[in-house]
């Protein structure tokens, strides 16, 4: 007899200092509301974050690792895509 499991959800948390949600792990929950609550209990015990996103794991469509060569290698040798040919004036610290 097979055991029915709750769906698996991937959890993303944005920290107080952050701009983006980072993937922190996964958990099982019956539905989205429960998933957020479980994520709060499991992944924010030590004030790790202020915002939670949950996505059903089977809704995430990921790139195929065997295709990573053709997907990512060509960009390495295209030096003209990087803005490196002009001097950054003094006083501009983040460029």
């Amino acid at each position: 007899m097979s055991q029915q499991e709750w769906p698996l959800w991937e959890v993303f948390i944005r920290s107080k200092q952050g701009l983006n949600h980072k993937h922190v792990g996964s958990l099982r929950a019956a539905d989205a509301q429960m998933a957020v609550e479980n994520a709060r209990d499991v992944y924010t015990r030590r004030s790790e974050g202020i915002s939670i996103w949950v996505v059903k794991s089977n809704e995430i469509f990921a790139s195929d690792p065997t295709e990573s060569e053709e997907l990512f290698e060509p960009a390495h040798s295209k030096v003209y895509r990087h803005p490196t040919f002009y001097d950054v004036p003094d006083g501009i610290s983040h460029m």
Binding site: W6, L27, R28, A29, A30, D31, Q33, M34, E37, N38, R40, D41, V42, R45
Partner: protein, 340 residues
């Protein structure tokens, strides 16, 4: 002789289970008299039946000395160790009594929920329930510290938590009910949390600064607890046939204890007049409205029987509290004064 011999420890045990010092001393006297009776019967047996006796009379004398010594110290022991300085609930001032009620609810329910640690139905719920238990015990700590301070008898929060007798706890009967299955735990939590949200929301306007501060801090975590338990009641009720049955059975079993959450007596009246306590009659309809809302979403219903049960607030507890305290107090009573 066997009857006499058994009567010695039996009387000591029975006396220790009594509520008053006088009773205990009386039973200790009966234990001593039984030991005298036993000694006489031993000596008679020697004369009448040539019973071989060795150092039994000496052992009996030692035992009698021990019981007498214990009797002498019992007055001190009972009041300072088992039941320090306060032998009746009524002797506490109103504010201490009021604070202790809130504290005991958090303490006893916190202990109950902590029993789920390692036994949760799934990992995520195990963490959720133990988080809730920790929150409750945290509230209990602050409240017990304040109660001890207001009482002014030199007791610490640990003394209050671990060294009181059953009859001196003032938690509601609802909080001491056994966990049962997950449904029962969740229904109990839902009834209690919903009450606590309205209670703390009102208490944070108390004229007593300390109670107001504790209420303000506890309100946020209580809001979360309520969300958690309400969402679960809805899912269990409007879930599978089994979850619905179990949730309904839980409501049928626990509804009779909900009324006591709104118990008030002269302690409350006195403090309401001073602007310190919450008028529970005012928050009751708000609570009922929330309960009805969740009930209708969960397709669950209230039992038809309107019978209610109370007594916890006045120290008259169900049979469950004794077992709970046996576990909760075990370490402190076995190793008095132990610290982490």
């Amino acid at each position: 002789m066997q009857r006499c011999a058994v009567s010695i420890p039996s009387n000591i045990a029975e006396g220790s289970g009594r509520n008053s010092e006088k009773d205990f001393l009386r039973f200790l006297s009966m234990a001593i008299s039984s030991s005298f009776e036993l000694e006489t019967q031993l000596l008679l047996s020697l004369d009448l039946y040539n019973l071989e006796i060795d150092n039994e009379p000496d052992k009996l004398h030692t035992l009698q000395k021990m019981i007498r010594g214990f009797k002498k110290n019992t007055g001190d022991l009972i009041s300072n160790v088992f039941c320090p300085k306060v032998s009746s609930l009524k002797r506490m001032n109103a504010l201490a009594t009021y604070t202790l009620r809130i504290a005991d609810d958090s303490l006893i329910l916190g202990h109950r929920v902590s029993e789920w640690c390692g036994h949760g139905p799934i990992l995520e719920e195990d963490i959720a329930l133990t988080n809730i238990a920790l929150d409750l015990i945290g509230q209990a700590t602050s409240l017990l510290e304040y109660a001890a301070q207001v009482e002014g008898e030199g007791r610490s929060s640990d003394d209050l938590a671990f060294l009181r007798y059953e009859k001196h706890y003032t938690n509601t009967l609802l909080t001491e009910q056994p966990n049962g299955d997950f449904g029962k735990t969740i229904v109990r939590q839902w009834l209690f949390d919903t009450f606590r949200v309205f209670f703390f929301d009102a208490l944070r306007h108390s004229k007593d600064k300390q109670l107001a501060a504790i209420a303000e801090k506890s309100l946020k975590e209580t809001k979360y607890h309520t969300k958690h338990s309400s969402e679960w009641v809805i899912r269990l009720g409007d879930g599978t046939e089994e979850s619905h049955q179990r949730a309904q059975a839980a409501i049928d079993a626990l509804w009779r204890f909900a009324d006591e959450l709104f118990f008030m007596n002269e302690v409350d009246q006195e403090l309401i007049e001073q602007g310190i306590a919450v008028d529970l009659a005012k928050i009751r309809p708000l609570w009922m409205e929330r309960i009805q809302h969740v009930l209708s979403e969960s397709t669950l219903r209230l039992p038809e029987n309107n019978w209610t049960q109370k007594g916890g607030r006045e120290g008259n507890h169900s049979e469950h509290l004794g077992f709970l305290l046996t576990e909760m107090q075990y370490m402190q009573r076995t190793y008095p004064g132990m610290e982490w």
